[in-house]
Amino acid sequence: MLRRLVHCALCWTLSMAGVAGLYILAGAEFLGLAQLIVYVGAVAILIVFAILLTQRRELLSIERLTAGSWVTGVAVAGLVAGCLWIGLAYTRGLGGAGGASGGPALETRELGELLMGRYVVAFEVAGLVLTVALIGAVILALPFEQPREASGRRADRPAAGEGWDARRQGGQGA
């Protein structure tokens, strides 16, 4: 199995692209492409970044799967597949009705009008919540401690403009 978290993240990206492909096949072109932009482009990169920049090394490689986890995994996968199959099988007109060739696919323009008309409050609230979340994330990401020495000069060396010798000699020179 894939033990590197980066591989897992990239596989997840791939499956998101697959979902986008399903959307497009189902005639929801706009949704599919938005999925591609948002998930494949941005979110996947954010996840990969989070992995890279995470300070916790133990997260970065996953222990080899045990027999038990295999069983659980297969069971969950089967359950999901079964649910999907049941859902699909009992949906009327599978195999063409919802496809790009016809059917009541939502036009992009109509989608936009709905979002900006009927559902404008919900849309704006969602936007606001996301903005708040973003600001919260930024605040969380800010360093708590004093900026480390990265911010500038080496601790034992004087900053630019100060007398070089003064600091080094503990103030006796210069």
Binding site: W164, D165, R168, Q169, G173, A174
Partner: protein
């Protein structure tokens, strides 16, 4: 020479324990030098830099010189008994003058436009008493140059913030600029992974049925 003497007097007045000696330069350049005892080098350099009259604030050049052990022959007249009678003969006596390493500093004054002031400091000998206080804490410009002198001459600068070899590689033994340094036949030879690589390659070729 007179100017140098006045500088000497000024420093000795400020730092009574530091004794400076004038070393005349017999050549045409007229660049005479001051010889400082190693123990007082840093104080003298600091004084030279900070003295409002002198302001030698720019250490232009630091270098080492290797003076080998010399054998000097003195002619002495001794009385010897020769065929029963005592005569006076001239005999040469060999006297061994121990060698030393010397560090030479060339100081200039950016503020006054004067210089060069040549400062010399000598180590005790060429083998075990080779330490000299570092001037890197007074003149930052000495940092790399002292590393070079350490690398090529083997003068150990005490108090240097980062005394490593500069030009030769780590693990090199010897100090190439010393007069008695003997060059190895082949500088290039050192154990390299080449042998390992060659062995690996030969294994592979053997597998392919080639010699």
């Amino acid at each position: 020479m007179e100017r140098l003497a006045s500088i000497q007097a000024r420093i000795e007045a400020a730092l009574p324990e530091a004794k400076l000696a004038l070393a005349a330069n017999p050549g045409a350049s007229g660049q005479h030098s001051l010889v400082v005892e190693a123990a007082h080098l840093e104080a003298v350099a600091r004084r030279l830099r900070d003295d409002p009259e002198l302001q030698f604030d720019y250490l232009s050049n630091v270098t080492g010189v290797d003076w080998l052990d010399r054998v000097e022959t003195d002619k002495v007249r001794v009385k010897r008994e020769y065929q029963g009678e005592e005569i006076e003969v001239e005999e040469s006596v060999e006297r061994r003058v121990p060698g030393y390493l010397e560090v030479v500093y060339h100081l200039y004054s950016v503020a006054r436009g004067t210089g060069p002031l040549v400062l010399r400091v000598r180590t005790g000998n060429r083998t075990d008493r080779v330490d000299v206080p570092s001037l890197a804490n007074v003149f930052r410009g000495a940092e790399l140059q002292e590393r070079e002198v350490y690398d090529l001459f083997g003068v150990v600068f005490t108090g240097h913030p980062d005394l490593r070899r500069l030009l030769m590689w780590e693990g090199f033994s010897g100090h190439p600029m010393r007069k008695d340094y003997v060059e190895p036949d082949d500088y290039e030879y050192e154990p390299t992974p080449h042998g390992e690589v060659a062995a690996k390659a030969s294994r592979r070729y053997a597998k392919r049925g080639q010699p």
